[in-house]
């Protein structure tokens, strides 16, 4: 490695830079935290598969030097489930957006969490569909302006960490892109944990979302995160509000539960032993 090379060089596909993300977007921070986590825990990168859906953050899988599959809209979790079960040695990480994972792909999310499939889901929540032109999504706050809520949003948003916890995820955390160190620690933790893990990352989308909501720059959005964020580890995710005044972040759940993969292999072993016994 030359002296000038970046410490993350081997994790990043530099030929793909510059990335497609807008000025002030938080996706680059998420990418940064992700590869830092890969580096810090010295994971065997050969075994890491990044599965992404459609949307701005979906492009992330193209920037990492890992095996990757960019699925159709909303299907990253279902795809990752198949890949992980077929080859249990893989570390399948799903990185996608709020619209992809919770609107069109919501069904896969709750069922994978319920099954406790050993996959790790990182959701970039930017409160809207950025890539397709700023429509409202399942996490858009009440009253927020988007291209499809010209008079303000009248739909109640999902509380993603509450949803994940209720669906059975064994690890649930929320950070903003301001919390780079804590976010990196969370990613490191889930990369070393078995079971369905979920990290929500609140990320600024000044260009498409912020502009319409009086936060036209990345700095303004980050200032919102800074003034509103309140770290409440181990608190009830049902109470983890996101409002102009308060964004509750933290590590809400870190539990142990047998994974689907584990139960499946155990059962296979038992049945095969029984059959051998019968023969």
């Amino acid at each position: 490695m030359s002296e000038d090379s970046h410490p993350f060089e081997r994790f990043l596909r530099d030929g793909m830079m510059p990335h497609i993300w807008c000025e002030g977007c938080g996706n680059g921070i998420i990418l940064n935290c992700f590869v830092r986590a890969l580096k810090d825990i010295e994971i065997d990168v050969n075994k890491v598969v990044v599965v992404s859906g459609i949307g701005c953050i979906g492009r992330l899988s193209g920037y990492t030097n890992t095996d990757s599959y960019h699925t159709t809209h909303g299907r990253a979790i279902a795809f990752a489930t198949g890949a992980k079960l077929a080859n249990p040695e893989l570390k399948t990480v799903v990185i996608s957006g709020d619209g992809d994972l919770f609107a069109i792909g919501g069904n896969h999310f709750i069922h994978a969490a319920r099954r406790n499939v050993d996959i790790q889901v990182i959701c970039a929540n930017n409160f809207n569909y950025g890539m397709t032109g700023g429509q409202y999504g399942p996490t858009t706050p009440l009253k927020a302006w988007t291209t499809t809520t010209p008079y303000g949003n009248i739909e109640h948003p999902f509380n993603l960490v509450h949803l994940a916890a209720a669906s059975g995820a064994v690890y649930v955390a929320r950070w903003t892109t301001l919390h780079v160190r804590r976010l990196t620690e969370s990613i490191k933790k889930v990369l070393q944990k078995e079971g369905f893990s979920f990290i929500e990352v609140i990320t600024p989308c000044p260009e498409i979302y912020g502009r319409r909501n009086k936060m036209a720059t990345g700095i303004e959005m980050m200032n919102w995160f800074k003034t509103a964020a309140e770290i409440r580890n181990a608190s009830d995710p049902a109470e983890a509000e996101i409002s102009p005044e308060k964004i509750v972040v933290g590590e809400f759940i870190d539990a142990e539960k047998p994974t689907y993969d584990h139960l499946l292999r155990e059962m296979m072993k038992q049945v095969q032993e029984r059959i051998r016994g019968e023969k």
Binding site: M16, N46, K47, V49, V51, I54, R59, S61, G62, N65, T66, D67, S68, Y69, H70, T71, T72, R75, A78, F79, A80, T81, G82, A83, K84, L85, A86, N87, E89, L90, N107, H108, H111, L264, M267, M268, Q270, V271, Q272, I275
Partner: protein, 581 residues
């Protein structure tokens, strides 16, 4: 006296164990060395309604049910009233005369033999569950047909747990004894053990044959969402998964099922899913994704009548064009239509090979009639078709000199396929159009090149298919009439040809097994020398005719179409063939 040639219908309400009883009776005939065909008819209900199962028995090979019934096993009154007119002259009805009173007026036939057996009373005497009436009726039937109770007993012992079997054996014996005492010598039908008894024939459904084919092909991942008539495949696979190291997962939807299947295949194992029309609608996007990312998958599409939810528990062939065209954009795929249980087994094995050799989706298009009917077959040859995984790289590390590229341009369009986890290879792909290394692109020139790459595989595939039986010709090489069909119509068509015997007009039958890519040369060869052509299909718009027009610029002379959810009966079909000529 008619020996070893009979058609028996067992009917009753849903939940009364009709299919099970029919299956046991069929097995008892098979065990005696007879050929058997069994088909069921049921409604989308758990209790009530009317279900029936037809068992047809013969000494020679049979391919479908018959038009008529010789003996009716009626577990309720409705069965008699619904089916009495299908009984041949002099046919019989086994029923519980103590529970069902029949009056002459509603029967309106005096040629039938009525075999009353106190089914319910026997069950009560044994203090057994009401569902055991079936077994009493089966015992009585064996006596009426002068068949061997020991064969039925053996089947009962195989089918139930020891305690339950014990009770059922008693029930069968009591039914048998009662009928011997009260109905001896009345029947004109007899069943006898033949010299083939004990020979190893198998009796199974299309679904079971597909499942066995998949297991033999080394399928290691099967994900599906329950949908009739593909559900029994999931049922059959589920207990096998633990035994064969195969993962069987009931997905949350068909969308999930196809994407999980793609994921498993991407990870390097053979993977399959199965569904019916409505579920296949949900799979369409995923189907295109597997084609775009060149991820091999096998999908069984078991048709039922549509549109929409249609007739959930009935049969049809309305989805041929849908299978050929489903999903946006253009990409090569294989569509195979097995026509009997043997083909269900072997073509499933072929499907896996083709999917991996050309890294494309392969569809097995079946229907309710094929996958849920039981047919007799010789033991499958597990070694007839080998396993060819194509350009799958199984080494631990990639050894190529250049950087690995998942979608590398090659002469025939097929790129070496590494799986994630392979050292020294970044395995990357995208549902978006991509460059050779798998990165998303919207470059004009590359889009053309990548599309051409995928279609080069079609050329290679078409060439390879010359080694497959893409069509099959039955009957004389030259005939007055040539019938064309695909899929499950095979059984009734072959039966109709048997009924015709040596009469004129002479008929031959071209079964088109591979519908896509369309086997142009084979079909053309037959059609060129055909005098009159008739397409037989279970759909409204004759989709096969349209394919023939499309690929051969030829119009078939006649179309015989049935689209009421029911399969053709052989005599009905033969009459229609004679009518159109």
């Amino acid at each position: 006296m008619i020996v070893n040639k009979i058609s028996v219908l067992i009917g009753g309400e849903a939940g009364a164990g009709i299919t099970r009883s029919g299956f046991l009776f069929a097995k008892a005939c098979l065990r005696g060395g007879l050929h058997v065909f069994g088909t069921n008819d049921y409604q989308s209900l758990i209790r009530g309604g009317h279900n029936f199962y037809i068992v047809r028995v013969d000494t020679e090979e049979i391919y479908s049910q018959a038009d008529t019934i010789d003996l009716l096993l009626a577990l309720n009154r409705e069965t008699i009233l619904l089916h009495k007119d299908k009984l041949v002259h002099g046919g019989g009805i086994v029923y519980d005369g103590e529970e069902i009173a029949l009056n002459d007026e509603e029967m309106d036939r005096d040629d039938l033999k009525l075999y009353s057996v106190p089914l319910k009373r026997v069950v009560k005497e044994l203090d057994g569950p009401l569902i055991m009436r079936n077994t009493v009726a089966l015992g009585a039937t064996v006596a009426i047909l002068s068949y061997d109770l020991e064969i039925l007993n053996a089947i009962v012992r195989d089918a139930f747990k020891p305690k339950v079997a014990e009770l059922n054996l008693k029930a069968a014996k009591m039914g048998y004894d009662y009928a011997r005492e009260h109905h001896a010598e009345e029947s004109t039908y007899r069943l006898e053990r033949t010299s083939l008894a004990g020979k190893r024939w198998i009796f199974l459904t299309g679904n079971e044959a597909v499942a066995l084919g998949a297991i033999r092909a080394g399928c290691k991942f099967f994900a599906a969402y329950p949908m009739t008539p593909a559900t029994p495949l999931l049922h059959f696979m589920a207990p096998l998964d633990r035994e064969y190291n195969m993962i069987v997962l009931q997905a949350e939807s068909e969308i999930a099922a196809i994407n999980m299947t793609a994921g498993a295949s991407f990870a390097g194992v053979r993977a399959m899913t199965a569904t019916s029309g409505g579920g296949f609608c949900l799979m369409s996007e995923g189907l295109g994704m597997t084609a775009m990312t060149e991820t091999p998958v096998v999908i069984m599409l078991a048709q039922r009548p549509g549109p929409s939810t249609g007739l959930p528990t009935y049969s049809g062939q309305g989805d041929l064009r849908f299978a050929i065209h489903a999903s946006q954009g253009e990409f090569p795929r294989v569509v195979i239509a097995p026509g009997d249980v043997e083909e269900c087994f072997y073509e499933t094995m072929n499907a896996f090979n083709l999917a991996e050799k050309f890294q494309i989706p392969v569809l097995l298009i079946t229907d309710k009639y094929l996958v849920e009917s039981h047919g007799t077959a010789k033991l499958f040859d597990p070694n007839r078709i080998g396993i060819d995984r194509g350009l799958l790289l199984t080494a631990d590390a990639y050894a190529g000199e250049e950087e690995y590229q998942r979608h590398k341009f090659t002469k025939n369009g097929v790129s070496p396929r590494a799986t994630p986890g392979t050292r020294a290879a970044i395995v990357r792909t995208s549902a978006d159009e991509h460059v050779e290394s798998g990165y998303t692109t919207d470059d004009a020139e590359l889009t053309t090149k990548m599309t051409d790459k995928r279609f080069k595989k079609l050329d290679a595939l078409t060439k390879d298919l010359e080694n497959y039986e893409t069509t099959k010709l039955y009957g004389p090489r030259k005939a007055d009439v040539t019938i064309l069909g695909w899929g499950s119509t095979k059984g009734p068509i072959r039966e109709a040809m048997k009924l015709l015997g040596k009469e004129s007009p002479t008929i031959n039958y071209l079964q088109i097994v591979y519908l896509n890519p369309f086997p142009v040369a084979n079909v053309q060869k037959v059609l060129k020398s055909a005098k009159q052509t008739v397409v037989v299909e279970n759909n409204k718009t004759s989709q096969l005719s349209s394919l023939i027009r499309e690929y051969l610029l030829m119009t078939v002379d006649h179309e015989i179409l049935k689209y009421n959810g029911r399969p053709f009966n052989p005599m009905e079909l033969l009459q229609k063939i004679k009518e159109v000529l």
